[in-house]
């Protein structure tokens, strides 16, 4: 004999078992997809390793390690840039602005090495200031 309550019970049982089934199936589906992806990667890596196409990761890791150690051991880089007052490996020291003198190959004047570039810029008529001057003078 089935009354209204028993009908509802039946529906509830059907619903719950249906829902459990869905859960199980989706869990299985996810598992299959995951296994498939893992097998993909394993197969590709296996081929690369067997055919000798793999990169030498040990060497790369070694280089990374050396680099990390180097950065830890080296003093602040800012200290390195103050290199104008040291003695070089030949035992020489040099002034911050080079004071060798030679003749400009454009105009023949004597110029100090450290000031050669700004001199040449004007001498050759290059550079923004010089170009502006030329333009102004030739403008109509």
């Amino acid at each position: 004999m089935s009354g209204p309550n028993e009908d509802d019970n039946g529906k509830l049982v059907k619903f719950v078992s249906f829902w459990l089934c869905i859960k199980q199936l989706s869990s299985q589906l996810f598992g299959n997809l995951l296994n498939s992806i893992i097998a993909d990667v394993a197969s590709e890596c296996h081929r690369i390793a067997k055919l000798g196409l793999d990169r030498n990761l040990e060497e790369e890791e070694e280089e990374l390690k050396l680099s990390a150690e180097a950065r830890a051991s080296v003093a602040d880089v800012a200290a390195e840039t103050n290199g104008k007052y040291v003695m070089d490996i030949f035992g020489q020291t040099h002034p911050p602005v080079a004071n060798d003198v030679f003749d400009c190959m454009n105009c023949g004047r004597s110029v100090a090495a450290g000031r050669f570039a700004p001199h040449l810029e004007k001498c050759m008529g290059k550079g923004r200031k010089a170009r502006k001057a030329t333009r102004n003078s030739t403008a109509n």
Binding site: G83, F90, G127
Partner: protein, 601 residues
Amino acid sequence: MSSTINHLHHHHRIDGQISPLTSSCPHLADFRSRNGAKPFRALQDCLRVKPPGGRAGIRREPSEVPRCAACGDSSPSRLYACVACAAVFCHAPSGGPSHASAHAASMPLGGHEIAVDVDRAELFCCACRDQIYDRDFDAAVVLCQSAALKSAITVQSSGNPENMRKRRRVDYRPWSPDVRERLLMDNGSSVLDCEIDRPRGLRGLNNLGNTCFMNSVLQALLHTPPLRDYFLSDRHNRYYCQLKNAASGGGKRNGGNGGGDNSNGMIKGVKLCLACDVDAMFSAVFSGDRKPYSPAKFLYSWWQHASNLASYDQQDAHEFFISMLDGIHENVERDRGKPQSPGHGDCCIAHRVFSGILRSDVMCMACGFTSTTYDPCVDISLDLEPHQVTAHGKTSAKSHPSSNSEANGFSSTQIPTTSTLIGCLDRFTRPERLGSDQKFFCQQCQVSQESLKQMSIRKLPLVSCFHIKRFEHSHTRKMSRKVDRYLQFPFSLDMAPYLSSSILRSRFGNRVFSFEGDDGDDVAANEMSSEFELFAVVTHSGKLDAGHYVTYLRLSNQWYKCDDAWITRVNENVVRAAQGYMMFYVQKMLYYRASAQVCPS
């Protein structure tokens, strides 16, 4: 799946050749001796490729859903079709139940051990329970995959396809001087003193006024082995060159445009030759004189060649490098009459040393049609990684117009990793999706489609210069931003993974096959010489417009810091920790180790 990784591989690279491997599975050898390669070729009819450029699978009918003949299951991740009888069975890893192995064992006369993975088109030995490889099978798969794709080689910037022809190579013959030659050498030259701690050619360069950008590159080039050897062996004799120019009535204008005439010029009427000034510089720097040298004449000549860069402002070292190579090329090229293949460096020493060939493949994502272009290059400019992880572990995306949009996938728990040169090269050769705003016209589809672009190196140069894009220029040519992030770079570098042959091979699933990129002498040359050694690093410190360039040189395995006129010795750790802007690598076989003696640091 059992697999043993052979650690000997990195000592003698096999490069996709499988002769040592067929011997590793006796069942495959047995199968082949019974049936030859016919069964593998017959499988071609069952190979289905998911377009475009997709993976190959095995299906008797295109719509077939493979099931295990023993248990009826279609869901296992690995289903194998027996090559002998075409029956399909499942297989579980790590010694689990395997209907495939059971099938092989059930055949009293054997011959059913070899099977093929229906989803991955990989051969499997059910007796050894391991994946195996066969050249003929791979060839069948590749042919099937490439039949699904069409391709075209568009040669845009590098001239005719004929330039890809084989070049005649000279066989290597060892040589030592005979008595007469030795006498000639002794009489005609002076012996270099071999002071290990004061190497020849190490000489400071005076800063002529904001010219450290030039000095830093010059130091690197003065110690670029093939370039140094060329000039020191008198291959460009400046006296002879000037005589020749004067004789040919060298009344050409002294280069440059605008900016007025050199009416005051003392050398008016003599043809400008940057290579002559470089020759003079080599002679001076290697003379043994240790007082810093002033490259004034060179600056003067260069400013005439590159008048748009001729100003007292601080310049970009990389820009100068390109300009200088161009200057050497221009002055030499005019004299040559024969046709040159771009990228092979027949034209001048600058290109002979630095020129390589890049390959660019653009594949239509709708039909798989691939368009290939070859372009010569004298260096490779690399972007730093576009992402940075902040202190809170959240990523902040920095947008680059050219960056790979695929990279926007970092999770917020990403551990900060160091940027590396290898990482930059990986990214440089990674397939990049050209977005919907960059559609490419596909010749096959006859419409613009979304495409996949991939770069690779067709031919390696003798010297590879890597330029790290640390400066972001705005369109007004004022430098707007500098990226100070540290980049790790190795002292030894193997470029093999970035060659076109490697990239192409990996695109086809690393099958054993002679790909299109495998022909020609370029590849033979590449395979002999993909190993490089670092010999110079140009670094930039400070801000954009108030910075300083310094070069580190490696001579006889000892590192020297070249800071304009000041040459000092430094520990290799200083170089490893430095902020590299341009890194110079030379092919290992050109890097002289014979005279290298390690100095106690």
